[in-house]
């Protein structure tokens, strides 16, 4: 009997099929060779619609499975099919599991925590995403996300900045960078982590491909944290799937009057765990073994090497968000020059962030002083 690998790569090439079709082929005793021959009768037996069957025949005739494998070898991408032992068990248990995965970079990742959210996030959401990414990296975890703009990117970046490993599940082919401008981020991700997709080489961004890949994020993750998501969004799809698969879902509470807070608040109302403290979240997901954040010395470590002005500014920002230089200078009786140099240093250390033009807030996740 020939290997099932070429047939799986071929079927996967349609980008619409999943493991159900493969299970059906087993039930009906259709051999991989039959599939590779791709005649209409086999397709009908497998329940593949006529249009897809024609596309499949074309792919088979053009030797898709062979060129795909060659290209993967050339570009250092691994193709792991449903029947391979390397195929992640977490996905195999899904009824609609992908037929094949294209994996670049490091694999497998240990204990991945997914961090997802809207692309159109606020600067606060970005800061929370980054803080979560950092916190997960600091307890030695892996951040899994979708490599998109907004929350996804901030979580990847926060993790990378803290020296952690992160993986992106793409909604495009493994060689396609989407959105434009994320080339640098993808390179950084590949340095210590991986990029995973079920879509073949050259698959461009199509709206219907992104929701599909969310099942891979939900399936691979041990737990999921949602930061800023409107009711109708990819992040909500991911969260629903994760609940279905029995993963822990955490949601960062949002404002009730804002679009991007509605989804997360709804998740909490429906039973997700409210993520109200990043330190607590980190210590719970590391099973309380490594609780960097709850140590009282954490804040002291932050203060280490800080000038008096920097200390004072951080204090002011911990009390109030969205402060301008004017406010800080007035409250701390400092000159604008002192405030600006303090802000620059604190921002470089990721302790504060600019929450709007000329407005500053303390980064979430810095423990307040008692």
């Amino acid at each position: 009997m020939t290997s099932s690998r070429p047939a799986l790569i071929l079927l996967n090439g349609l980008t619409t099929l999943d493991a159900r079709v493969w299970e059906r082929s087993r039930e009906r005793d259709i051999s991989p060779d039959d599939i590779l021959r791709g005649d209409g009768k086999t397709c009908t037996a497998l329940g593949i619609p006529e249009a897809s069957a024609r596309a499949l025949a074309e792919l088979a005739a053009s030797g898709f499975h062979e060129t795909e494998q060659e290209r993967a070898d050339r570009e250092n991408v691994r193709i792991v099919t449903y029947d391979d032992t390397a195929y992640p068990d977490a996905l195999r248990s899904l009824s609609d599991a992908p037929l094949a995965l294209y994996i670049a970079g490091k694999w497998p990742l240990c204990a991945p925590t997914a961090v997802v959210g809207t692309r159109k996030c606020s600067s606060y959401g970005r800061a929370v995403g980054m803080a979560l990414g950092r916190a997960i990296a600091q307890i030695g975890g892996t951040v899994l996300s979708g490599g998109a703009l907004g929350i996804d990117a901030s979580a990847h970046e926060g993790c990378l900045d803290a020296g952690g490993a992160t993986a992106a599940v793409l909604g495009t082919g493994p060689d396609v960078v989407y959105p434009r401008g994320h080339e640098r981020l993808y390179r950084r991700i590949l340095e210590g982590g991986g990029v995973i997709t079920e879509y073949p080489f050259g698959t461009g961004p199509k709206t219907w491909l992104f929701p599909r890949r969310n099942r891979i994020i939900a399936g691979l993750a041990e737990r999921l944290a949602v930061v800023e998501a409107p009711m109708k969004s990819g992040a909500m799809i991911t969260a629903r799937l994760a609940l279905e698969y029995g993963r822990d879902v955490w949601a960062v509470p949002g404002r009730i009057d804002e679009e991007c807070g509605r989804g997360t608040n709804r998740l909490i109302a429906d039973g997700a765990i409210p993520l109200v403290d990043i330190g607590e979240f980190a210590s719970i997901i590391s099973n309380g073994q490594l609780s960097l954040f709850s140590e009282p010395s954490a804040r002291e470590a932050i203060s280490n090497g800080m000038t008096d002005e920097e200390e004072k500014i951080l204090h002011i920002l911990e009390k109030n968000v969205h402060q301008t230089v004017d406010n800080i200078a007035a409250e701390g009786t400092m000159t604008a020059a002192d405030v600006l140099s303090g802000l620059a240093v604190l921002a470089a250390r990721s302790l504060i962030y600019q929450s709007g033009p000329g407005r500053w807030s303390a980064a979430p996740g810095i423990r307040k002083q008692p």
């Binding site: 809207t118 692309r119 159109k120 996030c121 606020s122 600067s123 970005r126 998109a148 703009l149 907004g150 900045d161 959105p179 401008g181 969205h322 301008t324 230089v325 004017d326 406010n327 200078a329 007035a330 604008a336 020059a337 002192d338 405030v339 600006l340 140099s341 303090g342 802000l343 620059a344 240093v345 921002a347 470089a348 250390r349 600019q354 929450s355 709007g356 033009p357 000329g358 407005r359």
Partner: protein, 500 residues
């Protein structure tokens, strides 16, 4: 036949034009040759009427030749030499040899203001000849030292003087007033905005180009306008340069040593910004010479326009080449660009809601790279102050422009003292080699920067920019060394410091 000298402008340079007049018998006709433009051709009506008020009737065939013949002549400033040529040809007067005349005639013989008086004065000084200008141009001409100039109210006075009936008094050379620049708006009119005030002071001190990012209504335009008032007053040489430009463009001298402020709209054509056109006139970048060039809605500017601005910003001069030849204009400006944080403008606003999609914002941000953005040293985000914040900062009167200007002046003097031996004037001009060697970075600041450069992912160019700005901050503080605090503050103005 008689000949009188006038000028025509080539860019901001005056070129001598010889006006030859010949009158022969026959029916009346008057033709002007030598590539005259419409304004020059129409001068015959003005000249005829003006001469008639002096009782000089022109009869017969009149031929007027403007030499050199291949140089296009433009503007009404040739009215006076043509009229004098005619008067001389009629034998009514004898015109002094070699002198330069310029002025537009009114029908009753009065002389009107013309553009190009300052270039003409410089040409007259070079040639060592005397210059006759309309009275209204006397003020700007008086600022050019070493030129023998006479202010003429009307044709009658001039003709009387040449007949010996009266004496024209020469224009007294005046040293430009040191009268203080009157800033509009003054920094004392601006409430709050401590960070932008501070940033603009540094920009003025080191001549750093600035980008202001803020929501609509945050006061970016007002801040940009206020910047002019804290720049040091023009030096004598700089004043002459700006006079030359303004005189060529036809804008009158306003007095004082204030620098110019030119705001360019994003729909402006490349020619209007860089100079050019049929008669090769100076563009906005030249009119802003030694002053401030303000590009509001920076992201809306066409890429080719920004591309065209790159060279004049870098070299401090622009060469405009046309079929008729190429002309050089000066263009040393302090660039202030301003833009919103996102297409709708409300990104990160504490009250208003931003309606842009993630990719809109991303695309918008990507426009902040490219042609001129790498000429910008400082990125300043300007908060939109909320009413309650405005109320709380409203009690004390903020520092006025004059005191800020005094500090800026001191900092400029320190820079000049330090860099002039190497041929530079301000920190923004410093090349890489000087930055690394003789910028006066303290050991503490060096350790601080090298510690932080990695985590900020600063590029080589980014570090150079931080060093230049830090040097200006130290100069403002009167410190020979760049301290850790100076370096840290400079980091607040890097591009990565903008909200994301």
């Amino acid at each position: 036949m008689s000949s009188v000298h006038g000028i025509t402008l080539r860019g901001i340079e005056a070129v001598r034009v010889e006006t030859e007049v010949e009158i022969t018998g026959g029916l009346f006709s008057m033709s002007i040759v030598g590539l005259p433009d419409a304004a020059v051709r129409e001068s015959r009506e003005r000249v005829r009427a003006a001469l008639r008020t002096e009782g000089l009737q022109i009869r017969g065939r009149v031929a007027i030749n403007l030499a050199p013949a291949d140089l296009p002549k433009e503007g009404a400033l040739l009215d006076l030499p043509i009229a004098l040529g005619l008067a001389a040809a009629l034998g009514a007067v004898s015109v002094p040899e070699g002198a330069l005349f310029l002025g537009e005639l009114s029908l009753d013989g009065r002389l009107r203001r013309v553009r190009g008086a300052v270039p003409a004065a410089i040409l007259a000084r070079k040639l060592g000849v005397s210059l006759y200008v309309p009275e209204e141009n006397a003020r700007e001409v008086s600022l050019v030292s070493g030129v023998r100039a006479y202010a003429v109210p009307d044709l009658a006075t001039l003709l009387a003087a040449f007949r010996g009936a009266s004496v024209l008094s020469p224009v007294e050379p005046v040293a430009p007033e040191d009268e203080d620049v009157r800033p509009d708006p003054d920094f004392s009119d601006i409430r709050g905005q401590a960070s932008a005030r501070r940033a603009l002071e540094i920009a003025a001190a080191g001549h750093h180009n600035v980008l202001l990012v803020g929501s609509p209504g945050s006061g970016k335009t007002m801040l940009a306008r206020a910047l002019r008032g804290i720049l040091p007053p023009l030096s004598d040489a700089e004043l002459l340069e700006t006079l030359l430009v303004q005189s060529s463009a036809g804008s009158p001298y306003a007095g004082g040593r204030a620098r110019s402020f030119r705001a360019v709209h994003h729909t402006a054509s490349t020619v209007s910004v860089c100079g050019g056109g049929h008669s090769v006139s100076p563009g906005e970048v030249t009119l802003a010479h030694r002053g401030v060039l303000f590009l509001d809605e920076f992201t809306e500017f066409r890429r080719d326009l920004l591309e065209a601005l790159r060279q004049p910003l870098e070299d401090g001069q622009i060469t405009v080449s046309r079929a008729a030849g190429s002309v050089q204009f000066p263009s040393r400006v302090l660039l202030v660009a301003a833009c919103n944080p996102c297409p709708c403008g409300w990104y990160g606003d504490p009250v208003e809601r931003c309606s842009c999609s993630a990719s809109d914002v991303d695309r918008y941000r990507r426009k902040l790279s490219g042609p001129i953005i790498d000429r910008i040293d400082m990125y300043v985000s300007v908060p939109r102050l909320l009413p309650e914040e405005l109320m709380s900062v409203g009690d004390t009167t903020p520092e006025d422009s004059a005191s800020i200007r005094a500090r800026v002046r001191k900092a400029r003097e320190a820079q000049l003292l330090r860099w002039e031996p190497s041929g530079f004037h301000c920190n923004a001009e410093l090349p890489e080699r000087l930055l690394r060697k003789s910028i006066g970075l303290s050991a503490e600041a060096r350790a601080f920067l090298s510690g932080i450069a990695g985590s900020l992912r600063l590029s080589g160019r980014g570090i150079s920019r931080v060093l230049k700005v830090a040097r200006s901050i130290a100069d403002l503080a009167g410190s020979p060394d760049i301290s850790r605090a100076h370096a840290a503050e400079a980091l607040a103005y890097r591009k990565g410091g903008l909200p994301v």
